[in-house]
């Protein structure tokens, strides 16, 4: 009997220890968040900080249009506690996968709450590049905050604290971009790039945007487009056009050569980050750094 009671005591003690261990492991275990693009990953890391473990499926410099899933990506999505993606068809056919998956686990498009009125529509499709309007990205940040709290209510105060700080930086960034872009004379405030990723940027900061290619990186531009752009550049005395990190440079070469032939100086103003951020560890490897880089390049070349 004595043996029995000590055994019971021991086992209950072990049980208690296990319970404590289990509880502390629940508290300490970060939320496993999987995202598609680096920009969304940056939002999640800034708001979640130590309470999340973030994996981005699309690596550094990967054009979302050209992303190829690996075997491990299946596991990453399966093990994820929460999944965030951009939506508006940025991820192409993967969007169907996410929509199906959302019946089984928490999967959110960071653009899902953005008002229809604020989105750029082309027929029945939307332009997905919302992140270049910092105010829209602020809204995406609020969605990430809300969903992280929903999933991990214990750490609500921490998330709110982190988000307040980060979103304050985003508001400041928004003001800064507006102030910078306003330095370019109104007449020359035209942003010409290789593909149409800066539509929201143009609307938000009052800048005309022209692209050689359409939204899809697969579309090819017509001769008419080049001619029209050349005339625009000459008429408005635009000083520079821009290349993008995820689109080949040669597309703009023809345009620059054409304008220089007429005897007007046109330069390639620099490289903009459009569909992907820079290397991690560099300033351009964060969302704020990427936007600042783009704005600095644009303003320096066009002012």
């Amino acid at each position: 009997m004595v043996f029995m009671s000590t055994f019971l005591k021991k086992s209950s003690l072990i049980g208690l220890l296990c319970l404590v261990g289990w509880q502390s492991s629940v508290v300490a275990k970060p939320v496993n968040v999987v995202v598609t693009t680096g920009m969304i990953g940056d939002l999640v890391l800034n708001i979640g900080q130590k309470n999340v473990e973030m994996t981005a499926l699309m690596g550094v410099g990967v054009d979302p249009h050209l992303y190829k899933a690996t075997h491990g990506d299946l596991r990453r999505l399966q093990k994820a506690d929460v999944i965030f993606y951009n939506g508006l068809h940025l991820e192409g056919k993967m969007q169907d996968v996410f929509e199906k998956l959302s019946r089984r686990k928490p999967v959110y498009a960071v653009t899902q709450d953005i008002d229809e009125q604020q989105l750029h529509r082309y027929g029945k499709a939307h332009d997905p590049h919302v992140w270049f309007d910092v105010a829209l990205w602020y809204a995406a940040g609020q969605l990430v905050l809300e969903k992280l709290i929903q999933h991990d209510p214990q750490n609500e105060t921490i998330y709110r604290h982190n988000a307040a700080q980060y979103l304050k930086q985003l508001s400041k960034l928004d003001d800064w971009v507006e102030q910078q872009v306003s330095q370019i004379p109104k007449q020359q405030r035209v942003l010409i790039t290789a593909h149409d990723a800066f539509g929201y940027f143009g609307t938000a900061y009052d800048m005309e945007v022209r692209g050689l290619q359409g939204i899809s990186t697969a579309t090819e531009f017509g001769l008419h487009d080049i001619k029209a752009l050349k005339e625009l550049i000459l008429a408005r005395k635009i000083k520079a056009v821009f290349v993008e990190s995820s689109v080949p440079k040669r597309f703009l070469g023809a345009l620059v050569a054409g304008v220089n032939e007429v005897g007007r100086p046109l330069k390639i103003g620099g490289e903009l980050y459009s569909d992907a951020m820079g290397l991690s560890g560099t300033p351009e490897g964060t969302y704020i750094g990427m936007v600042k880089h783009n704005v600095n390049v644009i303003v320096r070349a066009l002012r």
Binding site: H65, L66, K68, A69, T70, H71, G72, D73, L74, L77, Q78, H89, G92, K93, M94, D96, V97, K100, L101, R103, Y122, G123, K124, A125, D127, P128, D196, G214, I215, S216, A218, T219, E220, F221, G222
Partner: protein, 296 residues
Amino acid sequence: MISDLWILATASLVAISCSMVGVFLVLRRMSLLGDAISHSVLLGIVLAYLIAGSRSVVAMMIGATLIGLLTAWLSNALHRVSKLQTDASIGIVFTWFFALGVILISIYAGQVDLDQECVLYGEIAFVPFDTIIWGEQDLGPRALWIIGGVFIVNLILILLAFERFKLVAFHPALALSLGVSVSFWHYLLMTMVSLTTVASFDAVGAILVVALLVIPASSAYLLASSLRSMLWFAAGYAQAAVLLGYALAVWLDSSIAASIAVMAGVLLIVTVLVLQWQKQRHGIKVKATVLDDTFH
């Protein structure tokens, strides 16, 4: 894990379906028809988008299937009517369709992200997530059902009409004299090819489909001495490529489709090398007969 089984099952069915029709394509020197269809479907998805106004999977599949059929039929018709070579006929039809698709995009849909890569081609790693839900019941991956249906249709047709297919493939003149409609069987084959390729594009993407149409059938061609054995060898090579390729993808954390295609190629190279080695060692031709008109 169950999801690995779904992926392997889908890949196996795609592999066997493609290698079966691939055998007939290789014998008829039309093996790049799959590649051609992978380009011409652009026209199908643009038309489907313009008519249906959405990029839903159903609309894209219907548009792609119809243009796939048209590509195969027209290539065949052009070859027969104008006496152009089969490869030239295929090249003419698919480039023309693709170019038409590009023009339609720049006129009507320049601002929409519309290309086969992002609206039609599937990713086999995500097959387990895209399931059919009927009421409360989860019926398994959508892609598996579609390619399973195509596989069964292919299998039944080849089993039922094996002798006809053989006759038409090797002795078209004899078939004609026996009153068999050669063109009916050709068009039936073309229909099977385009259904198989479009269903497979949706499940696993383009590169793997093109590879599976050509490579296992070619490996089998090196070994087989009859149509029947060529079909069996092709299915075996395709299945082996799936298993080895999947293992490679797990090991390297790489794209599953690309790994399977690579392994299919490795198996072909190994086969060629082994055959050469045996030839030198024994000083004999291992495979004396070549599948051609003289063969029964």
